[in-house]
Symmetry: C2
Subunit: 572 residues, 2 copies
């Protein structure tokens, strides 16, 4: 490491100093015999200049973009300064120049802006990552990781590792399997989360655990999902929900301060699941803007409107200055509503003091007045079941916020969504599913036993700008309650024994009350760096079909490998 400065460091204070630099040739220009080279490293750019009489002029002539070079030189003042970069007032007059590595013309231009296809970027990921904007994503990821960890370590949490080769316990997502060579026909599974292990750490008495843990789900991927992802996994004993929340708030406040120099207010807002669905139509409300959903049931219950008849929920939201929306736009919004389980989208707008719209004819002047619309406002109404109306209006709310630029930039709104139902009932399968996971403690085990549909969970999700960035709960620490939970989920005694037997066993030797949370690191980094693409914050991501285009994985393997594992490929 024989260089003296990074490429962002030199300025007028260094005039006449002799320096050693290294990096990549980002740009080369030959102006009237003078050769200028922009030398780039992970920190920035310094301009080198080589005069025709320089003994290294021949070397300089050979240098092309992306060559790796080493230069010794003296810092001089530039004639035409570039105040956009840190080193823009100076340049380095070369005294010695060495080419360390040559480069062919890269298939991706190494600059912040790129028009390369995603496929090309993924194939040449090592070049895509050379672009300063991508380097910044990775470096921010590093900084965020360190900041989060340092709070947890200060708070007395132990960082402990759990196995990647675990046991398949299918519940929820699909497991990735790993065939065992020593026990042919059996399989390990990659963990969907270290949930059971971290609870066992509590059984073992470690009290405070965390891990920056790799997790795996073999699911059909959405845009913001990867088959492997990283979570900040936290668990503590002798805690109430508020203890975990306070800890995580501290983690977030300090991380935002350290990495972005942004002050986050705490404690965060707490909102019940019910309220989130009522007012935001979402269990992960974006609180950066208002546009709240309101209940209009009371307005319409005495009015006979065919579309609204026998609808348990009639709710809507008001967009100020929205009355000018074109028919085409309104049709598009109806499309959004219908795609999100809404039966219909009805609107009323106020222009020049008069409220108009398809249902206006069913309403008296007084009834229209009671809507209290401002001049230029438009009211969107959706009738239907509570859940469907919530979902439709939640989607409409986001659509309108984007359309009308209602979302302030550089704004970070955290909240806790609390008071979750413990279970979800699938009418189709006639069975309950755990709303979070089967280890979440019920508020009251009696209710779980007697009326599972009404059972509430000691669960909490942390939401940032409309994204769920983490979820947690107090866990079941009592063997009987855990068995009751598995029963309610319809697991047979045998199932319980096979899948979770050792865990139910573990609960009986003195398990402290405990709880925790997992934060999605990839998502946190995505939100903190302001990118919308999760692939931007993962060094070597996979495509939506779980392919590594660069490495060409998954791939064929040698027949002998399959023979050793005693598995065969093909449908049975």
């Amino acid at each position: 490491m024989k260089y003296t400065h990074h490429n962002n460091e030199l300025n007028m204070k260094h005039l006449k100093e002799h320096v050693y630099l290294k990096g990549w040739a980002a740009k080369n220009r030959n102006l009237g015999g003078l050769i200028f080279i922009d030398l780039r490293d992970r920190f920035g750019i310094t301009q080198l200049v080589v005069k025709p009489e320089n003994p290294f002029y021949e070397t300089a002539l050979k240098i092309k973009n992306e060559y790796v070079i080493e230069a010794k030189g003296v810092v001089i003042e530039r004639e035409s300064k570039n105040m956009n970069i840190a080193t823009g007032e100076i340049e380095v007059e070369v005294e010695k120049l060495t080419i360390l590595s040559v480069a062919e013309t890269p298939p991706i231009i190494v600059s912040n802006d790129t028009d390369a296809l995603e496929e090309t970027r993924l194939k040449y990921r090592y070049l895509d990552l050379r672009r300063p904007v991508m380097q910044n994503f990775m470096i921010k990821r590093h900084e965020i990781t360190q900041a989060i960890r340092s709070v947890l370590v200060e708070e007395g949490f132990y960082e402990m590792e759990t196995p990647i080769l675990g046991k398949s316990t299918p519940e929820g997502a699909r497991d990735y399997l790993v065939p065992s060579r020593l026990y042919p026909g059996t399989f390990y599974a990659l963990p969907q989360s270290p949930q059971i292990y971290k609870q066992l750490f509590m059984v073992a008495g470690f009290e405070k655990y965390f891990q920056i843990a790799r997790c795996f789900r073999d699911e059909d991927l959405r845009a913001d999902r990867q088959p492997e992802f990283t979570q900040i996994d936290i668990e503590a004993s002798f805690v109430e929900p508020n203890d975990v929340q306070t800890l995580v708030e501290k983690v977030m406040v300090q991380t935002f301060k350290k990495v972005l120099n942004v002050e986050i207010e705490s404690p965060f807002v707490k909102m019940s699941y019910q309220e989130a669905m009522e007012k935001y139509g979402s269990d992960k409300p974006d609180m950066r803007y208002e546009l709240l959903i309101q209940d209009y049931q009371h307005v319409f219950e005495s009015i006979s409107i065919p579309l609204f008849e026998n609808k348990p929920s009639i709710r809507g939201l008001v967009l100020e200055n929205g009355s000018g929306l074109s028919r085409k736009k309104l049709d598009a919004l109806t499309g959004v509503v219908k795609k999100n389980h809404g039966e219909a989208l009805v609107y009323l707008k106020k222009l020049e003091g008069i409220v108009t719209g398809s249902i206006a004819k069913f309403m008296t002047e007084e009834q229209l007045e009671s809507l209290k619309l401002n001049e230029g406002a438009i009211l969107f109404l959706v009738p239907g079941e509570f859940e469907d109306v919530s979902s439709a209006l939640g989607a409409l709310r986001i659509e309108l916020a984007n359309e009308f630029n209602l979302i302030p930039e550089q704004s970070y709104k955290f909240l806790w969504v609390v008071d979750w139902p413990l279970l979800e009932y699938s009418e189709e399968e006639q069975r309950f599913y755990a709303k979070h996971h089967p280890f979440t403690a019920p508020e009251d085990p009696k209710v779980l036993k007697e009326n599972p549909k009404a059972a509430m969970a000691k669960a909490y999700d942390i939401v940032l700008n409309g994204y769920e960035i983490g979820g947690g709960s107090i866990r079941i620490h009592n063997q009987d309650v855990q068995k009751l939970m598995f029963d309610t989920l319809g697991l047979s005694k045998e199932d319980i024994q096979n899948r979770f037997g050792f865990f139910v066993d573990a609960l009986k030797y003195g398990t402290p009350p405990h709880g925790g949370l997992a934060l999605g690191l990839d998502r946190v980094v995505m939100l903190m760096t302001g990118t919308a693409n999760i692939k931007d914050v993962v060094a070597f991501p996979k495509t939506q079909s779980a392919k590594d285009i660069m490495m060409q994985a998954p791939s064929d393997v040698d027949q002998i490998q399959l023979e050793e594992l005693q598995i065969k490929v093909g449908k049975s």
Copy 2:
């Protein structure tokens, strides 16, 4: 977290304070009506006392070992003090007592000493980990990890993650495979190390990378190996071997200081591979004791001894005061030599001024004198090929050191083994293997081309107390040299393209010179905590047959899982 103190904190300074404690009942005694409870947490033990007139006396009577309890009470002075524990001068007179969790009698006694079988300990790992000695291993692991990381972060290294679902590139150890559901018949592989990824980070221009990385090898396990293990993976650009070594020395010195308060001297000794084999008979010499191997070829070349005839190497080592070894012991030592490729073990001992032994009769007085044995010493000699003699004497050296307690306790001797051959030739397969891995740079590519057997590597291993705790090298950063290396290893063009094509490609777009190292974290923790069993420092280890006894993994999976993956179990 409503408790006021951990269970190691209270002492005479806290007399009369009212405190809240929590933990596990480690021991309960009923002495003349007084109930004493040792309350344990991860920090230590505090004694609770409950008098018969206490309203919580009934509760106290119910408490058995490993119950989880919460106590409020007042700190009082103990009558009979226990100066062995931090809280031994006081006890807490209980004012309130709550049972948080009951416990059945555990199958393992929760104390430092255990006579439980390893199988039982692994099955009930969550209880085994509750033993204070095991908690200490895990906590030390945490501390070591933090200490190592903090040096690297301070030195400007970025912590970056690489995929676990990678590509199979069989070379060296066996890969664990993961069948792909979306591309039936193809497989991911779990990484044996992030080697290629970290080099790609250098290609991408990050310059300084590290990761605490999980690695996987499907090998038949030895006692100190696990199928998954953790390495501190480090890579940097624009470095020479000495830069990497200096960095790692800093990591080690600071970690030993912080965690063990032990001063390690640096720079570490550097020893060539050749010298290590000559003097220690090992490429990972234990320098805590002498007992060096010496060359006796010159002594015997002029003496006709049948056993030594035509032997290219005759070396040996002298054990002072070893002449009293019994015949039985000597036979056992011969066994050690023969098990380690030694042809024979010959010894000469000096007693009462006379040197005796089976070969003494072939030697003159003068020749015997020239051995310069001290009174009571024994000289062990092994004839044969250099490698075989080295291996045999290396094993003998360790055996004698253990037998004669020559190894000082709490002593840490680091060294670098340098100047490695680049390749190993397998006579059997008539091909070369990379002594480290195929990305290691040769000292001189010309030699690699013209006389591969003589090619030396820019490689270095770090050795502590006879264990290789890490290895590294400067890497090949030139596409042509990388191709030459693959050629020399006998990979066909097609092989290279299929397995490493993308990587050879990556080298051509401006790759900086780079190098690095990987430290075996599990081994470092093992050596720093003084345990001989790697399982002690892994939270949830597997058996030597790669089984997780607690979880019962690997295990059968549902048929539907295999159908989705389109694989079948069974020999082909």
